[in-house]
Each structure stands twice: as structure tokens, then as C-alpha cells.
Symmetry: C2
Subunit: 462 residues, 2 copies
Amino acid sequence: MRLILFCLLLLPGIAGAQLTIDSTAFLIRDIYRQSYTELKAYEWLTTLCKDIGHRLSGSEGAERAVEWSKSTMDTFGLDKVWLQPTLVPHWERGGNAQVIMISPEYGAQTLMALALGNSPGTPKGGVRAEVIEVQTIDELRAMPDEKVKGKIIFFNRAMDMGQLNTFAAYGNAADQRYSGPHVAGYKGAVGVAIRSLSSRQDDYPHTGSTFVSDTSRNIPSVALSTNDAVRLSKAIKAGPTELFIETHGKMLEDKMSYNVIGEIKGTISPDTIILVGGHLDSWDVGDGAQDDGSGCVHSMEVLYRLKKINYKPRYTIRCVLFMNEENGLRGGLTYADSAISKNEFHMVAIESDGGAGMPTGFGVSAGEHTKLDEALSHMGTFISLLEPYGIGLFPGGGGADIGPLKPKAGLLIGLRPQSARYFDYHHADNDVLETVHPRELAAGSAALTTFIILLDQYGIYK
Amino acid sequence: MRLILFCLLLLPGIAGAQLTIDSTAFLIRDIYRQSYTELKAYEWLTTLCKDIGHRLSGSEGAERAVEWSKSTMDTFGLDKVWLQPTLVPHWERGGNAQVIMISPEYGAQTLMALALGNSPGTPKGGVRAEVIEVQTIDELRAMPDEKVKGKIIFFNRAMDMGQLNTFAAYGNAADQRYSGPHVAGYKGAVGVAIRSLSSRQDDYPHTGSTFVSDTSRNIPSVALSTNDAVRLSKAIKAGPTELFIETHGKMLEDKMSYNVIGEIKGTISPDTIILVGGHLDSWDVGDGAQDDGSGCVHSMEVLYRLKKINYKPRYTIRCVLFMNEENGLRGGLTYADSAISKNEFHMVAIESDGGAGMPTGFGVSAGEHTKLDEALSHMGTFISLLEPYGIGLFPGGGGADIGPLKPKAGLLIGLRPQSARYFDYHHADNDVLETVHPRELAAGSAALTTFIILLDQYGIYK
């Protein structure tokens, strides 16, 4: 019954014809209904998390995720599914970090820790040194080098949980992890520990990328659980405290990997592209369920759902599962290089890389030649169709993988899920399928699918 | 520092003075920040769930919850905290239900079941009879009585998960539980099993209130887990199937219990009341964390937070923790009787009884003498201050406990949390503290506190 109705709306003969507002509203309602009842994204995420598991670039998991997502998209009946080769860094953790705090006041205690991604291992036997606590990189920069030399630096600034949006709180604390070890190494430190970028006070350490360079000294660095960061800080306040750190990280040779891409060709302007994507790689802990398995299955469901309702887009709708967002962004860079060299025009590129929470809307940024105000004002005329679903537009957004498209894209947009829970799990062992609610995940797929139909119907300008 | 600023805004000397829009926006931001960093509601909910536990009316848990919430509110420095006596029904489950399916095709299988609240126990030794599946009460009504006589009726209509809002899906399926056993008993059935009103396909049975009467025959009735409802339906399709049911429910003598009430007196119109509340009782399974521990600690935090910022309301702000929402509504009825007999005017009564999810806004209904359109239009002028927090107004809402105030209230309003997860846990053993996110719970407290400040400042009419 449903399909017959759609055929009336979307006859092959009137492919690409503009839908009326009424029929669009009906279509939106039906896509939500289908997503909520079929729960396809959750089915795929279960496979990705539990049969494949985590999938750091260069790992066997990443390889299997490429194969699985390609073969799954092959079943949708798309116009084209392909792999785009990209060389990726290949870092291996090489075993668990061992971190021991030695405090005259509290004795020797093992701390929960994960080596930061890309960081080098310690010499065999580890490093042991006095630990100095700082809150900011600027505070460290202001210290005389001789005070830092031979020491372990402990960055202990917590995420500011008074922020409304945990992504803002993360953004304001993440410099410690990304640049802290680099600056500390430059000043002669022998190791770094950071308080995990976590929104919970618990025992999970949260890893993530740290900057390594060819020209300066890279030093071993670890993230401590928030509970152990509190413990360590207390010990330091009580008197001179040492840390013993042993890690085993190793950067190996670059490895060949792939972006996985599928598309439905546009019936009117096939050279204009609406992209939706997430990243297929994850950290080498947990399931990578929130970051970013969810974004991948969201994006896959967009194409699956459009095919299922036999939607014939005006523009080409393309799903891209990027490789290597976490520790190199090679997939995003390769994709943009290729798109720009082929002179492809991405009217819109949307990334889902904010987890599986209930979507609240889309954050919008402009490509280099787009007037954001005009686009937002035009989109304001149709986004009201998604208001009953809790979806709004916000200025500012995008995604790491689509960022390199900026010179040649109309708009760069990021899906904005509810952020309360995301940083409880981000880059940690507890980023598992069980944190994802099938219905919230489905709402993300439906928000993306319906928003893309609106963009395809009404464009980004009047 | 923060308190000094508030003192400037809210000097005792200018108690009740109207705040400027700018200072209100600042106040709202600060209340969110305080709620997110202090996480007071979660601290209280932990005590209510883990030290006290579930608290069905008449139980020891309910008694302890009354004592605890009274003594906790006593520490806020309110103008008055008191107990309002109310006689409540005292139903006891009396032990686990045993339900066995006897199928020629699938053999004998034990099914996961909970007796429905208020339902009588079976005779010693249980009942055993052939089971007839129906989807609706109307389908049962249309059956000849002789077909029903001596049988067990199985109501198997699932919640429609294609609905956007799970509360609507629940509302459309709940007649089976509330009225199904009554109708079946009237037609001569000896027992009823219902498919649990659950949004998940799993092994948890969900209990809840069923109608019992003095004049007709009340029969034993149970809820089956959704997985077992599927199993039973499959067996019935394969051939005549029997159920064995043994339950132990018993309605004892009414017991004295209490609504727990605290208030801050209004400085300008103390006889006009803004009420915020939840219900203190829960079912006798799980922790009663979502239903409705969350609503209680939400409401308590409103008064706690207003005192903490030294807010001097124009109107009296009253927190009411109602007793016996689940199986009698006696607390709500007693409260309204008393309020109406004292000629108290509730300008607004707000209930939080939709769980601990991220709030999306407030559902608004009119009291008997209020023009809803005019009130919504006026409130539209200030609710925009809460838009950045994801809070909107919706027509339609309220709460069971505040419903009886309708003849004498201006507006009846229900907090609307995000509903995706609520019916996974509702009235089941898995409604535990661990399903509640401290930050989402805090957002509920902050939404209520700030909305109440706006109502206190700007009223419900121009």
C-alpha cells in the first residue's frame, strides 16, 4: 500500500519532479515510521560492533569493516558502490600501558591508563620521574625548561561540565591531549599523563590522538581515568610524587586501506552531489559504537531507505564511509583531493560523527563561495517540516572528514545528536553497542534521510 | 561571586520585583550551570533508589520515602514543609507469579510474568485453561460469552513503535491492561495474560494497574514479557494451547500515608500558587527510578535551587510529592479536595512524571476557566528564553496527580522528557537508577526551575 502511494508520487516518468509540501510531509512521516519499526541501523551496528569490533586504521578490524560495509551496500541496489584507496598510518598500542603512582603519602598505586594514540612506547623498563601538575599548556610554556627537564607532566584540567553542550566542553579541554605531549617533549619532559577527556567521574581512561612530529622529540603519553586523575592530584598536593609509565606504542609502515562509497545517481543534475558520511575507523578500544559506528550506519540507512521508497533524487546522493578520521584524516583528505581534481561540486556534505543520541538538528557551515545567511534563510523555509521531529538548524557545524571539501562545497553540515552521554564513552573501553538505543539511532537515520530529501527538493538557495 | 550578583538582582528589599529580560537570561544560564555541576537531583535519586528502593503505596518503602523526602526538604530552609495525610489502598503481590504455557507443539514452558497491580491471586494451586488470543477489547466483546467462559484471555496487541512519541504508543495499547481483565471477567474468563506494554523486545514483564470492581468478578491477570508474548502467540497459532497461572495478589485494608509538601511563600501574592510535583510511590519492582523517583527529585531541586539563589517569588512556589499515583490516585484526590475546599488558586500546576530523559519542553492544558490560546500566546513571548536549552511549549499535557485540580487551576502542565527509552523500563524490574543519566536528570530540574521563574515573573496572561 505504502509503496503504491510512493509510486504515485515518484513515478519513474516524473523522476526528480518537485514534491508538494503536503506529500513531502507525508513522506517524512513515513520515513520516520519505517526507521522506527525496521531498526535497520541498529541491526547493522550490532554486526559492526559485535562481529567485527573496534577497527583502528591499519588493523584487521578496519579491513573487515571495509569488506562488510561494501558488501552490505552492494545489496541495496545502488547505482554504484566502490572502494577508494587511501594510505593510512598504522599505529599499534602493543599491549597495555602500566602506570604506577609512587607517593610518600599514599604509597604505590596502579592507575587506570591508556597510551595516547600515535604516541611512542617508553624504553623497555619504562620511565620513572617526578610528576608536575599543570592545568593548561600556557602554564607549562611559562615554566623554565630546567624545571620541566626529566619530569613527567600531568595535565589535569577537567572538562567544564557546566557547559550546555559537552562538545564545547570537550573542545575547550582537548588541547591538553593533542598538543600537551608535544609541548612537554619540546621542553625536555620524559612523559605526559593527562586527565581523560571524559564527562563522568569513573575508572575508564579515554585515549585519542596526540600530535607527533618528525622534527621534535615525541614522548610517551597516557590518559588517566578521571578517578585516578583526582587521586594523583591529591598525592601531588601532599608532597613530591613520582610516576612510573610503561607503554608499547609503535608507528609502523603506512598501510593501504579504503573509503567505502555508494551512490544513487541524480536524475536531473547528476554532477551535483549531496554527501552523507561517517568514519569507519575507530580507536582500538570498546566497539567504536558511538564513535563512529553510529555515523556509518546512519549514512548507510539514508541510501537504503531512499532505495526502499524508490526515491529518484534530482542530485546524486552519495554515502561515504571515511577511513582514518581518528589518527590521520587520510580518508577525508584523499576523498577531497579526488573530488577537487575531478571538479565535482558537493552542494552539501553532511557528516554524522557525534554519536547515536537523539538528534536535535544540523549545524551548518558555508563552503568558501557560499553565503551562509542566504542559505540558512532559504533552508528556514523548509526545515519547519522537521520541527515536529525535534530537528532545527544551527549556525556552525560540519565534520573532520568533510572539512577538506570546503573550497569546493556549498555547505558543510554536521548532525547534532543530544550530547549528554557521548563523552562518557568517547575513545574508551565502554564505547560499546549497549550504550546505543535502537530508537535514538533510528531517529538519526530518519533525520538525515528526510533532511536530504528536503535539500534535494528545495536546494540550498532560493 | 555568583551569589553576590544574585543579591544585586534579588535584594530582599526588592523582593518580587520584575527581572529584566537580560538578567533573566543570565539567571537561566546560571541555573543550568549549577544543576549540571552540582548534580543534586542525582544524589537524591541515588538515595531514594538504593537506600530506600521501590515503594508501592502502603509498603514499608513508601513509609521510608515519606520520611526521607520530608527530612531532606527540611534542610532547604523553606517557609513550610508538611505531611498531608491520605488513606491509600494496600495491595500486596505476595510472591512471584508462575505462568506455564502448555502447547502440544512446543511442550511446557515457563513464561516471564508479573501479576497486574490490584489483581486478585488465583485459588491455591492456580488456574489452568485453554488460552484465546485477541488483539483488542472490542474483539473480545464481540465474542459470544460461551466461547470465553472458563478460558484465559490473552491480549496481544503490541505498542505501535512507528509512533513518534512512545507515550502515544503506550496510550493506544494500555486499555488491554487497565480494562482487559475487567471485561474478560465479566464475560466469564478465569484469567488474563497481556503482552507487556513495553518498547523493547526482551524478557522483562511490565506490571501496572488494572481495574478492579466491587460489583463484578475480578480475575487473576498477568503481564508477559514481550518475548514470551511472541512465544505464546506462536504456540496458539500451532494449535490449542493452555496456560497455567498462579498468582498471590491480595488487597488489604487501606493504610494511612502522606503527600509530602514544601513551599516558599510568595512575596506579593502568597495565595496564588505555582505547584511542581511528582509521585513518591512506585510499583513494587525495580527502583522506581524513572517512574517517578525522577519527578520527585526534579521537583525537590526546584525549591532547593530557588533557595540557593535566594530567589524571592511573587507567588507561592510549592513542591508536592504525591502518594499513590500508581494504584489509586488517592494523594492527588486528597490534595485537590483540600485545595478546593480552602479555595486555593493554583495559577499553574506542573507534574514531572515522564521519566528522566532530556527535557524537550512542556505540554500545556487549560484549567476550567482558562483560555488556552491566550495563555499559550502570552507564554510564547518568554519561552524563547528557554529555546537555547531545547525547551518548547506543546498544547496538551498535565499529569495524573494534578488532574483533579482542573476545576480550580489556571494551567495544568506536564514536563516532556525525551521518550525513546522510558517504556523500556516502565513498571518493570529494570526501572533502576542505572538507566538515569545524571546530566539528563539535571536538565529536567533546570528546565522546571527556570520555567517556574519565568511563570513567576511574567504570569500566564498578559
